[in-house]
Symmetry: none
């Protein structure tokens, strides 16, 4: 009979496993940022690592799973913040402002975490990840709710969400190119811009 494996949470083995996983994730984030997700190969990732090629497959079964892990990581960190912004907001204006503040802070942080701050992260290096879609959907839901409650102007929630996210993305990238990073300034610009836009785009 085989003995039941005694795997202490903090054994040297387990520690090393966690470290290797993190190593791969870090390398992947950097490589995807440099080359783009599609262009990057798994080998590019492990080359950025002191692990052997086969080791990758002890942690992820394919490139897609790796992307998921990274994206989930980003989403898992961002979406609660967004939810909190929504819950704590005292008005529609406040929600918009808080949303932009946390978004640009988040982008700035991700940007600094990576050696090369040039490519904006955009939540996963690609334009339409499922997580980005989820954020979009969530934001739109918040907005529809605000409209329903009469807190926000009557407008096309879908288009408005798209516009706001477009502003956030594009401004986020520009912001990363201006040093020192000033997420609050970007948030201030975006907030004013979008709130005025919302009023103007309201269905007359």
């Amino acid at each position: 009979m085989a003995r039941a494996p005694v795997l202490a949470e903090n054994s040297r083995r387990a520690q090393s496993k966690a470290a290797n996983r993190q190593q791969i994730l870090d390398a992947a984030r950097a490589v995807f940022a440099e080359l783009g997700y599609e262009a990057a190969s798994i080998r590019d990732v492990i080359r950025r690592t002191d692990l052997a090629s086969g080791t990758f497959y002890n942690y992820f079964t394919c490139k897609e799973e790796l992307r998921q892990a990274i994206a989930d990581d980003s989403a898992a960190r961002f979406r609660p913040l967004l939810q909190k912004a929504h819950d704590e907001a005292e008005s529609f204006e406040d929600y918009v402002r808080r949303g932009f503040v946390i978004y640009f802070a988040f982008v700035a942080q991700e940007s600094m975490a990576q050696q090369n701050g040039v490519l904006a992260p955009n939540f996963g290096y690609r334009i339409d990840t499922p997580e980005m879609m989820a954020v979009f959907t969530e934001v739109r839901a918040h907005i529809e709710e605000a409209i329903a409650q009469g807190l926000a102007p009557q407008l096309d929630a879908d288009y408005f969400t798209a516009a706001a996210i477009g502003v956030a993305r594009e401004l986020g990238e520009r912001m990363c190119q201006r040093l020192p990073l000033d997420p609050l300034a970007a948030a201030e610009f975006a907030t004013r811009f979008v709130l005025a836009g919302a009023a103007a785009a309201a269905i007359s």
Copy 2:
């Protein structure tokens, strides 16, 4: 002695050359739209053609050059329209409106030209092509000019341009998912949104 070949512009040879080049470009546009730029291989492109694989290299030296050519093609068709909008505009508001109208019309047209309208055109399938940068720069120049002439509010031209382009891109994608395509409605929304935003973002 053989005479040196005199290659008239419209000789059979030249016609054939132009036709082959166009054939490759058309195939590439379709293939890139279907598979995405990275996933598509040159072989996929020439397979869509009645040319031999080696022939590709008489026209382009690598895949990147092909992408450039397509993007330049898009840009070459779009930028004169934008310039015209600028030249004919009678005010800053008019420029913004005309710009959005031609942009959404352009996107709608490209979207319909491709079988599957799901992939956003975005001027060449990728987020930061040099041409996109050029358009960005051009728009910003127009705006700085307008500010200098007192036609537009005093604001951060760089951020404003980014915001406007962000709205255009994101709205363009949403628009493509609503059938029937209604570029004028999108343009109307964007115009109102951005003009109000511009006023609000003006340096106080």
Copy 3:
């Protein structure tokens, strides 16, 4: 000083060792039958086990050694039966009959032991294992002995053995495809066939 471990034959340790070895052998037999020897990987085998991958190498040094062990196991079970048939036979005819009876019974049993009866056992999944050669040699020796004693017709013992084994193998496979398995019928057919053949092939 630690006492040197006294490893009784039936100590817990030894029992566990034997059980692990048997576990691996059983799994291997099943996996080889399902996927074929070449296609099966050691990982496939240990996955069918509750042992860890590294443990395999405490018992076998490589896949080939595992195959040997299985084949030896088959041979070790079959050859005594064959020897017994020889020793108890009262005539050449009787030897041939007994030999076929035990062979087809053996094949039928192996076939049923495995879920899928389609793969012919053939003594170890491969056509020319050393053990098969050994059986061949043994049968030929029996036959040469019978010829020398005047019990069997004068014939080319090598070719005759080959013919008899060919009949056994091929018939064994056909038999496995007819349900319900009827090893006695196959043995009857083979016996008549081979005995008559022997007579006819006798050196005239």
Copy 4:
């Protein structure tokens, strides 16, 4: 417009293509014989060749296709001979004799064609290729026909075919180990053996 390809049957290009294909087939036959089909890798095959690895895929899309090509080649050469034997045979006995003669001649020839005469070809290096099945089916049909016409004894055609093929295979291998090759002697042995067996196995 692309010119229509002018591919002379006997152009240097076409000749080279045919030569390369043959080179691969020859190498594959040798490698499969040495290592077995499953154990052999495509790289083993091309290494035996002066071609580059990628070139393989200009001729075959996978290993299986290669096996097919070889097997078809063998089958395509053998089955007409067998059919001819059947058509020209003047009796059941004659059919059996002719069948064995051509089979052993075929095996002898294949054996000599390969450097290493040790491994018998067996029509494709593996025990149950589709082609082998086809030959089996064909032979059984011939035999059932003979039984129906009263030319052959009433017997279990399926088992009889299996027995005859078993004799052929096993004897073929033994024959290849006796130098000089004497296919006629093997055929003579097999014919006598099988015909007598057929009579004895007849349903009484």
